[in-house]
Amino acid sequence: MRDADGDDARQGEYSHDGQHRADPGGGAVGQGRSEGTQSVAHGPSRLSGLQRLLHDGRAALASPNRNARSAVVLGRLLGIAFLICFGTGIYSHLLQEPLGWMRFPTRPTQLYQFTQGLHITTGIAIIPLLLAKLNTVMPALVQVPPVRGVLHLLERLSIAVLVSASIIQVVTGLLNTYQWYPWPFPFRQVHNALAYVIIGSLAIHIAAKLPVIARYWRKRDSYDAHGRFIADPASGSELLPPGLEAHPASAPRAAVSETTGSTAPGLLGRVFRWIDGVDAAPGGAEPRPTGPDTAPETREVSEEPSPAQPTADVPEASRASRPTPEAATGRRQRIARRGFFAGVTAATVGVVALTAGQSSKLAEPFNVFGARGRGIGANGLPVNRTARAAGVLATATAADWTLTVVGHDVSRTFVRAELVALGTAQVDLPISCVEGWSQMATWKGVRMRDLLDAVQAPRGSHVRVTSLERHGGYRIMDMGPEYAEDPTTLVALELNGATLDLDHGFPARIIAPGRPGVLQTKWIEKIEVLR
């Protein structure tokens, strides 16, 4: 139905230059727009099996929202989201594995809560955006011919890398928030390495698509006055309506229209005629815009002639007999696009709103599907690693527990009462986990710098903290002077007004500003001054 009137009129003949993708001037706005009036009515050429399959695929996938402009819009959002995740992810990684010279900000104390919450929330938002983007560019998957040369092959390979790495990154990241690891590789190392692979292949992807991105960056360059997508073969887009996409002139052209496959021959055509209710008569399903509703459209056409609208676009006869068929087409395309983006927006906003409560207090009332709930757990705070899992049930509850503080010349051991006697401080600091959940809490304990003073540690000392845990990657934690000397860094003994729960690190744990939860070492037994 959508092909009948307006579209075929503007599907003119173009010169198909297979090399123009590499043409740096290919993105010039306004190039190669409709130049003729010949409609695409070629019968099916003799196609090979694969080509037939690919053509059928393209016909089935043709849709007003699967165009270069949609790909650019979604690509921009995804690009921003990937960069946010990359930046916050690298920050989180460096916090855990700093290079020797690195120092980190301790203010605002909720910095890591913010960056990691942003990392996880953005990562969740990527899920619907990535699906939408892949859906939009699906016709390019079945482009004909599949490969146009070495460069094109490399480009398609780089896209394959980008897509597969992105999917794995999102899936593993999401399941990591559920603490479920059903894959045969280590999560943290792979998540870290793939981040670079994604950003690198994204840069290559942007380079390859730069003419298309430039051509369809602005809305006003992408749609004509009626809201119809301006198919510009000079852009090198692989998402143009069949017959207009970039391919060598030798490639066969299928008789399919922009939005439907209803003119396609064979079974596919029959399926599409069922879907769209198109009769054999051409234009049968095209709603004839009659009655009062069409009047504004007519005015729109006469009052706002778009410079982008080629004058030879519509045959005079058509214009006379059917007022503004292009307006009807444009309106239909616009509705389809808006419907598509309404769905993407609903999915993105919905999935973010229903999960962001795990890392943002603002979204807490809507925390329906978050992997964590605020206030749940001992001391009103969730737990990541329990005392049982850490194997400290006996050692952490032993009556003779002491904290050993080793200085360069002086070493001291403290029983709990002696720690309290040093003088306690109370601070509000969040527990912010790498898995994205976070919660503010009130801690009471001895300042780290008071303990360091007690063993005459020099200013600027690095500190190593050892836990009672017998195993685990975070048993030993190093702390730079920016944390060790911060007045809010505590050896905490109490949490939210009660003695530290065993699962929260009893008898004593570290709490420092702006660090991931895995570095807030629990069940500590020794603090060493390093240098």
């Binding site: 740096p24 001037g25 849709s63 969740i124 899920i127 619907p128 892949l134 859906n135 699906m138 998957l141 780089s158 394959a160 597969s164 790495a165 794995i168 899936v171 399941l175 559920y178 603490q179 479920w180 059903p182 894959w183 045969p184 590789f185 280590p186 190392q189 792979v190 870290n192 390495a193 981040a195 670079y196 950003i199 690198g200 840069a203 290559i204 730069l210 769209d276 209710g277 709603p287 509703d293 009807a328 309106r331 509705i335 419907g339 309404a342 769905g343 993407v344 609903a346 999915a347 999935v351 599907f369 978050g370 992997a371 709930g373 749940i376 757990g377 969730p382 737990v383 329990t386 899992a389």
Partner: protein, 159 residues
């Protein structure tokens, strides 16, 4: 533009190379093999299973859309997309909880019930919108509230 493209490609290749270096220096070859299988499976799963399913659903929606007003179709489509994405995110969560929590504060909610409730609410929205759409088009279209004419009038009334 050419210079920008060259710079981007060079940066891209270097960053990928660094990622590969990070990978081979932090993960054993055997586990990199496992990662390769997963990377391949991700593309195959998406392109061969999820995509055709989504395309099929989209075509069915297009078929249904012939007899629906545009705003009805948009709401129904948005509800389906949101419901699908939520299922995609929450079903693994249910599986993860079923697989075993490390402690009761991890995955603390009854996600199965919550998902059913949310999907049920979306279903209610879809039904209500469909009913309103059909009633309105009957009233507006009178006896000619047939599929074809209501479809076209919908397109005309919503812009």
């Amino acid at each position: 533009m050419k210079a920008a493209r060259i710079v981007l490609v060079v940066i891209g290749v270097l960053v990928i190379a660094f990622g590969a270096y990070v990978l081979v220096t932090s993960v054993t070859p055997k586990r990199i093999g496992g990662l390769g299988v997963w990377l391949l499976a991700a593309v195959v799963l998406h392109d061969a299973i999820l995509s055709p399913f989504v395309v099929g659903a989209g075509l069915l929606l297009r078929r249904a859309g012939r007899s629906l007003r545009a705003w009805v179709l948009v709401v129904v489509q948005a509800a389906i997309v949101l419901g699908s994405v939520l299922a995609l995110v929450v079903l693994p969560e249910i599986a993860a909880k079923d697989h075993g929590q490390k402690n009761p504060t991890v995955l603390p909610f009854d996600y199965g019930t919550r998902l059913l409730l949310v999907e049920g609410a979306l279903l209610v929205v879809v039904v209500v919108v469909l009913v309103i759409g059909v009633v309105r088009s009957r009233r507006a279209g009178g006896p000619s509230g047939s599929a074809g004419s209501s479809g076209s009038s919908a397109v005309r009334t919503t812009g």
